[in-house]
């Protein structure tokens, strides 16, 4: 028979990671194919003129405030998505030793990449422009 004493419930912090996973998944699903199409096919085939994606153009974009936010989001969120998926896949294929460490390494890596990209963009934003824009 079921016990009458009320169980203690422990709240999971999964919503945080699931939120990042979901947002990253949306980007990965919708934007990655477009980016691959443009950079992997349309530009090499000459359908889009490559000067639109020249170093100067992209650098110029990444050093505007909105451009840097877009780049950060486009890099960081898919990372959170991927590492979350890898973390759960480890459990799915039966690697159950050191789940805590797996978690620290997986999400820690995503966090480190996010911080790295953030710092890099910030540095580019604040550095004196090379091209005189």
């Amino acid at each position: 028979m079921s016990k009458t004493t009320e169980k203690t419930y422990k709240r999971s912090h999964e919503p945080v990671f699931w939120g990042l996973f979901g947002a990253g998944g949306m980007l990965t699903a919708f934007l990655t194919p477009v980016m691959i199409l443009i950079t992997g096919l349309l530009i090499p085939l000459g359908i889009i003129d490559q000067h639109y994606f020249s170093y100067e153009k992209i650098h110029g974009f990444a050093t505007t405030w909105y451009g840097s936010v877009i780049v950060l989001v486009l890099v960081a969120l898919p990372f959170w998505h991927t590492l979350h998926r890898i973390f759960h896949a480890l459990h799915d294929i039966g690697i159950n030793r050191g789940r805590d460490w797996q978690q620290v390494i997986c999400y820690g890596f995503a966090f480190a990449v996010s911080v790295f990209v953030f710092t890099l963009l910030l540095q580019m934003l604040t550095a004196p422009s090379l091209f005189g824009f």
Binding site: S2, K7, Y9, K10, R11, S12, H13, E14, P15, V16, W18, G19, H88, H91, D92, G94
Partner: protein, 245 residues
């Protein structure tokens, strides 16, 4: 009447005499309208009366005849020989449950999980009979009706890889049932049940494989119920950050 036959492998296990399960093959007369359950009844009546399996309604209502047909969770009364003929059919007890005997499994853990999610209406305040009935609009009913169609057959648990890995996971049918009560306008027990939902063993044990919804014979779509609950749990998490209880 018919000359056609079909071969059926049945996984046998009688704990008092078998050390481990083994396969026994039967040859059963084939007709297109014969269900797997009828084939088992033919075996029990004419070939080997010691074969054990569960059944009752023969019409996909009672939920007792679940088993693995060629490794896919099915209701014996809703799966037909014609969909497999002339290939051999293999019948095994529902996956992810301990075998009690032959095709009968121990469902205690499943029943316990259904009980644990408080599967009853918890009203805001007790209403006296003289105050009349609860009123509900079709819209209010549509919010939960699908999730109330479960027949507790356990096929979704046999399908769930997360339950297979760790049976602490509350699982598809129990979470769908939980959603059914949380989404009912007559119910006021959401806060109590969200504690169950918010745990690792609650909705967060699910990685949205979705096979539970594929095998469900009543189109309950437990995977959808769980995803809706994940959204609710995330909202609850945000609220919890500002207003810890």
């Amino acid at each position: 009447m018919s000359e056609l036959t079909i071969e059926i492998d049945v996984l046998r296990y009688r704990p008092e005499m078998d050390n481990e399960p083994f396969t026994q093959t039967f040859e059963v007369p084939y007709t297109a309208e014969m269900s797997i359950l009828e084939a088992l009844q033919y075996i029990k009546d004419h070939l080997d009366s010691t074969v054990s399996f569960r059944w009752s309604c023969r019409m996909a209502i009672c939920g007792s005849c679940g088993l693995m047909v060629n490794s896919v969770p099915k209701l014996g009364c809703k799966a037909f020989l014609r969909d497999y003929y002339p290939q051999k059919i293999s019948l095994e007890p529902l996956a992810n449950f301990p075998i009690e005997r032959d095709l009968v499994v121990v469902m205690d853990d499943f029943i316990k999980k259904l009980e644990e999610i408080k599967p009853y209406i918890i009203p805001e305040k007790e209403k006296c009979l003289s105050e009349g009935t609860y009123q509900q609009t079709p819209e209010q009913m549509a919010k939960f009706k699908q999730f109330s169609m479960c027949i507790n057959c356990g096929l979704c648990y046999a399908a769930c890889p997360q339950y297979a890995l760790d049976n602490k996971f509350t699982g598809p049918a129990a979470l769908a049932l939980l959603a059914r009560y949380n989404r009912d306008s007559r119910d006021n027990g959401e806060a109590e049940r969200m504690k169950i939902v918010n745990q690792e063993e609650g909705v967060w044990g699910c990685t949205f494989v979705g096979y539970c919804s594929v095998v469900c014979p009543k189109d309950v779509d437990p995977a959808a119920a769980i995803q809706l609950l994940k959204v609710e749990s995330s909202k609850d998490y945000l609220i919890g950050m500002f207003k810890p209880d």
